[in-house]
Amino acid sequence: MIVLDGVCKAFGPRVILDGLTLDVPDGRNTVIIGRSGSGKSVTLRCIVGLLQPDAGAVRVDDVVVGELDRDGLTALRSRIGYVFQFAALFDSMTVAENIALGLTRRGIDAPEIAERVRESLALVDLAGTEAKYPAELSGGMRKRVGIARAVALRPRYILYDEPTTGLDPMTTATMDELMIRTRDLGVTGVVVSHDMKSAFAVGDRIAMLHQGRIHRMGSADEMRASDDPVVRAFIEGRPDHAVAAR
């Protein structure tokens, strides 16, 4: 289980997270929604130890991430897959090499790596692209390779950073389906998004991040029915001044 307990993070004078508290239950997709710059990606980075909170604690499986040394972080990251907003594929490597890199680090032997590469690419409907380079793929395909790279590690958790941003509706639907399929395999997902259609489709729980904290949280239906002005404005995509006027 992932627990964020009063997490604070600021960059200079700009406070991003201000006492964020959130529990991520196992085996479900938790979607964090919020405006651009509200700290969604920072939250994911704190979970995986790429950023350290200024205050508060992030616990993954009862281990405080901020207290881990280098080897502890490596062990933690072996349980967490991370899908980056722009895929972050290594452009000097083929698709197969991108997926194999994390497996090599875990000391898995070559035949097992080849099998996992094949399996994970089949899962994201990209079989046959092993020898291609990221530059030869479309944006949607790159994101799917990013998911394959995460899934190949057979992680307990996958963190998705804006997985559908910039994709056409059909590719977005494919991505949503992949996130649901991955959850059905027993993987706990934390999805950061401001794409409400996607959030409602994949989220078992949706948490709204606002002013550095979780403002509202509930199921997709509860969030849809919410009469909270901040939630409504976000879901309906109303401009700032309309919110201020209410």
Binding site: R45, V48, L50, R70, T74, R77, S78, I80, G81, Y82, F84, Q85, F86, A88, L89, F90, D91, L101, G102, R105, R106, R149, L153
Partner: protein
């Protein structure tokens, strides 16, 4: 500084991560840099021979041209000019590559896959440059002396026998290894500056450009400082 040193020491200990990558970097950073090093060495040798002849004519025996070309190319101009050229080529290449990886989150992706970026990105490049710079410099020294020799025979009133007499006259084995030791340290410094500036890149294209420029400037400065350091320590 203490934390950085500890991190670097741990990264050096990740031999299984960086060792398989060294050969590829030796080719990219080293072998591919030989043409530019040879180009510089040819013109350095020509100019040195002509300059020595100009200085020595009427004052000293002309076979001293061989001595000056040999000593200067081996001990100073070979390593330093090659180092300066490679600070541009290798330092910029490393900073731009790692900087681009940084701003496109590839470095973060490496970390999430369990790799320490210092072990995977910095150490293999530093090791490769440290091993390959002396090789490139050795090529440059050989070509520079050869160019000086050919120039002396064809453009100056000097025979091959006289040039070689001068070349051998003051030669010590130290002349050669002094230059090669220096070039190894230049390689390490250039690769380290390029890697660290690349990892520190922020923003987008502008950040990568800034990191690249800083890497080249710092690499050149490091060469001059190390050049003086080795002169004080070894001469």
């Amino acid at each position: 500084m203490g934390r950085w040193t500890l991190g670097a020491t741990r990264a050096l200990g990740d031999v299984s991560i960086w060792r398989p990558l060294v050969i590829g970097h030796m080719r990219r950073l080293g072998v591919d840099s030989i043409p530019i090093a040879i180009f510089i060495a040819i013109f350095t040798g020509i100019v040195l021979a002509l300059l020595a002849s100009y200085i020595f004519t009427g004052a000293m025996p002309l076979y001293m041209v061989g001595a000056l070309v040999g000593k200067t190319v081996m001990m100073e101009l070979g390593p330093v000019l090659t180092g300066m050229a490679l600070a541009g080529r290798v330092g910029a290449n490393i900073a731009a590559e790692i900087g681009t990886m940084r701003v496109t989150e590839q470095v973060d992706a490496l970390e999430t896959l369990g790799y320490d970026p210092r072990s995977y990105l910095v150490v293999p490049r530093v090791v490769a440059a440290t091993l390959m710079f002396p090789v490139i410099t050795a090529f440059a020294v050989a070509v520079g002396v050869l160019a000086g020799w050919v120039t002396s025979v064809n453009l100056l009133d000097l025979s091959s026998v006289e040039f070689l007499k001068g070349l051998r006259l003051f030669y010590h084995f130290k002349d050669l290894w002094f230059g090669l030791v220096k070039s190894a340290s230049f390689g390490a410094a250039i690769a380290l500056m390029g890697s660290l500036r690349g990892l520190a890149a922020r923003g987008g294209a502008e950040g990568v450009g800034e990191a690249t420029t800083r890497a080249v400037v710092l690499g050149c400065e490091a060469i001059l400082v190390l050049d003086a350091f080795w002169a004080v320590v070894l001469l």
